[in-house]
């Protein structure tokens, strides 16, 4: 369990270059007011905690959904395995898209983003501690492929607690990168940034492959041993 949480945290950390591209702007907006380093750092931390809280909530929701789904099996495949497959495929797609090998459809993400943006902007322009936290809470709900991939993983855990832990781990993993952008890190050169992106992409690919391997239906359920699904079934 702890090992799993650590894996996911590492996954979040290593793939968080993705977050810099997507949510970096929001973090930047939080720090828009000129402030010295430590107040800015504290502000960013509060904002990120809000984001992680929402992830944890979504993880618990996904875990509960997984638990509910665990009653049904489709063609001898447990929903857990299916969800792990979904998570893996999503990760591989994101990895390939980051590397520029494939293009993910932007239309729906764009539409969802455009739909949420005006509401989100109200939170983003807010000041005060609660304002930063609320901005983080709202940020957590923004559509994001990486979050969906890890949510599928959380659902595959088939348990609210585990789901929450998976997503908390993921969220914590993304904090360092987000803090870096939020505190105005401009010291990364474009080349370095490109390298980090490549590395993150490769890692997301690897994680996706691993997730699929672990969830592969032909393997006996042993791979899921100790996980909620099995315990509940038994």
């Amino acid at each position: 369990m702890i090992a799993e949480a650590l894996t996911v945290t590492a996954g979040g950390f290593l793939s968080s270059a993705h977050c810099i591209g997507m949510c970096g702007g929001f973090a930047g907006a939080i720090g828009a007011a000129r402030a010295s380093f430590w107040p800015l750092f504290a502000r960013q931390l509060v904002y990120n905690l809000g984001r992680v809280f929402t992830y944890a909530f979504l993880g618990a929701l996904a875990g509960s959904a997984g638990l509910y789904l665990s009653r049904f099996t489709v063609l001898g495949v447990s929903p857990q395995q299916l969800l792990a497959l979904v998570a893996g495929v999503l990760m591989i797609a994101i990895g390939l898209a980051t590397l520029g090998v494939i293009r993910l459809p932007q239309r729906w993400a764009g539409a969802a983003g455009a739909f949420m943006a005006p509401f989100f902007s109200y939170f983003l322009s807010a000041r005060g501690w609660w304002g930063y936290f609320a901005a983080g809470l709202a940020n957590g709900f923004l559509p994001c492929g990486l979050v969906y991939a890890f949510l599928a993983l959380a659902a595959a855990s088939g348990d609210a607690d585990r789901g929450a832990i998976v997503m908390t781990g993921f969220g914590l993993g993304t904090i360092p990168a987000m803090l870096l952008v939020g505190c105005g890190a401009r010291f990364l050169s474009n080349v370095t940034r490109q390298r980090i992106f490549r590395f993150a992409a490769a890692f997301v690919l690897l994680l996706g492959g691993l997730t699929i391997y672990r969830g592969w239906p032909t393997r006996p359920a042993a791979c899921c041993e100790g996980q909620g699904a099995v315990r509940v079934a038994g």
Binding site: F53, A56, F57, L61, G128, G131, A134, A138, A160
Partner: protein, 696 residues
Amino acid sequence: MHCAFCHLPMPLPRGGAAAASGAEPAEPLYCCYGCRFAAEVTSARGEKGRLTWMLGRLSVAGFLTMAVMMLAMYQYRQQIAGPDAQSELSRQLGGVMQYAALVFSAPVFVLLGIPIFRAAADQARAGILSTDALVVVGVGAAFVYSYLATLRGTGDTYYETACVILVFITLGRWLEARGKLRASEAVRALERLLPDEVAVERDGAPLRVKPADVRPGDLLSVSAGDRIAADGVILRGRAHVDEQLVTGESTPVVREIGDSVRAGTLSTDGALVIRATDTGAASTLGRLIELLEQARNSRSNYQRLADRIATWFIPVTIILALVGAGLGLRRGGAADAIMTALAVLLIACPCALGIATPTAVWVALGRAAARHILIRDGHTLERLARVRTVFFDKTGTLTTGDPRVQAFVAAGGAREGEVLESAACAASGSTHALSRAVALYARQRNISPSPALESRVIAGRGVVALQSGGEVALGSAALMRERGFDLSGPVAEALARACSEARPVACVGWGGRACGLFAFDESLREDAVAALGALARRGVRVAVLTGDHAARGRSLAAQLNTEVAAELLPQDKLRRIEDARRAGGAVAMVGDGLNDAPALAAADVGIAMGCGADLTRESAAVCLAGNELAAVPWLLDLARRTVRTIKVNLFWAFAYNIIGIGLALTGRLSPIVAAAIMVVSSLLVVGNSLRLNRHE
């Protein structure tokens, strides 16, 4: 009366027209909770700073709700695991979690439930009923029940249900309000056209006032690039004025001292000083806005249907909720009763039904206005969608009104080229439409006249020009007779022929003799053939009704490739319209709204062309300010699409209500799901209506 946030008409209060016609209330009145909420969110946004009070409430409540839901999920897992799997520790932990949920959810009820309840109570006082207050009561009951269960230590708790419903209602109503705001964008765009303040000179003193406060008689200074804030007459200056807003004409026209200008038009390049004549609501822009608002306030048939249903919908919903509570009580006790009643109340919320028609109509009216088409009311859109026959008037509608030389005759003994050259020379001294047509005719024959030494316009008669060879007169037959010119031979014959066909003519003469005659007809609009063809392709019968000679009618029919009924008196046109209506479908009549006003009024939909400057032509239900015939098929498409959108919206609203109520009554629908469906269905309806904005 309008909602203070989305600017859309208020729903009819139950008190009826008497209450509706009352004075504007002192406090801003909102049409729904969403608008009140959105107004509070946006009001304080201008001042940079903290989260607004309302948004702060929502985010705190959202945070607590997430926490409560996570606690509930833990309990859900325990339930699934079954009582055997529960250790003593986990049972105690469950008890602690219930208390935690109680502590977290109580603020949610206060933060979100009380504003909803208060708003519902305010609206009820204004005569607008909604199920919101009942939902809050239901949520309160669920909360109290859970509280008692927590105290006793047995029984289920529904804290998460109570919290989620409140968050969903608040979020959903907010989203809905924003959708409605977008539906009313067209009018607000017009209102925003004028600058916040304009410079005027009143009784010799310079002032800066709001556009609405400009008074007739004020001297208005307009800089280049400014919108003119009132109708008026130019006292000083000269500018190219963009009048697209009122005439649809995209090329700016020159306006100089003595010309009148209209509110809402734009001085593109010059500074002007204008004496205001009509201001504020009486100005062209003011009337335009008022017309659009009137159109929005009118209630179409579909809307009336929805209103009628809504009036008994709420009482029926209350009864159904009570029935549901009774069924739930028999099924599983008080908790089931509360949950069933809540689910019924939430799923039966008539919000989707209430906005199904107006949002579609508002968006369509706005979309049409953006194309310089003014529609008098929503009902017109419905009738337009049923149109099976479109009649066109000819003059000024299918033709531009610009004359064209149709025949030219030179008197016996005169050389054609010489006559034409003299006529063109005289014509260059006048800007009259017939003069321009003569000049054009000469140019087309490669005749370039030498300029006149001097020319003099005789009002209502023509023009007399001094040329190297003497005086040349170009004008009506009356001008020839007045000057004692001899009118005989081929010129007289041509004159008689033209008179019998009621064509306008111009004679040219010198040296005591009328030497030539021009007979005119009107040129067709460029887009006439295409527009009529487009209508025919839409399965609409197209015909031209004209008072013209049968011979000219036949040639028009060949040119336009359509049916032309000629030699019609005004009452004949009315009879044709009646006949077509009896044959089935609605009839639209397209005319210029002046000489054919009775026909426009008699048709189901009267469409007036070129009424840009004169928006209040009463006889027409539709004004094509843009003066383009292509707008007619476009409008027909828009109307059909709008009615289709309304039908889809209403079908969806009814279908989901009926199915949902059935499920809710039998206890198969959780209140959380019901709240989510309610939100989604309202958004679907608003989104479906907003798609009309993309009509091309």
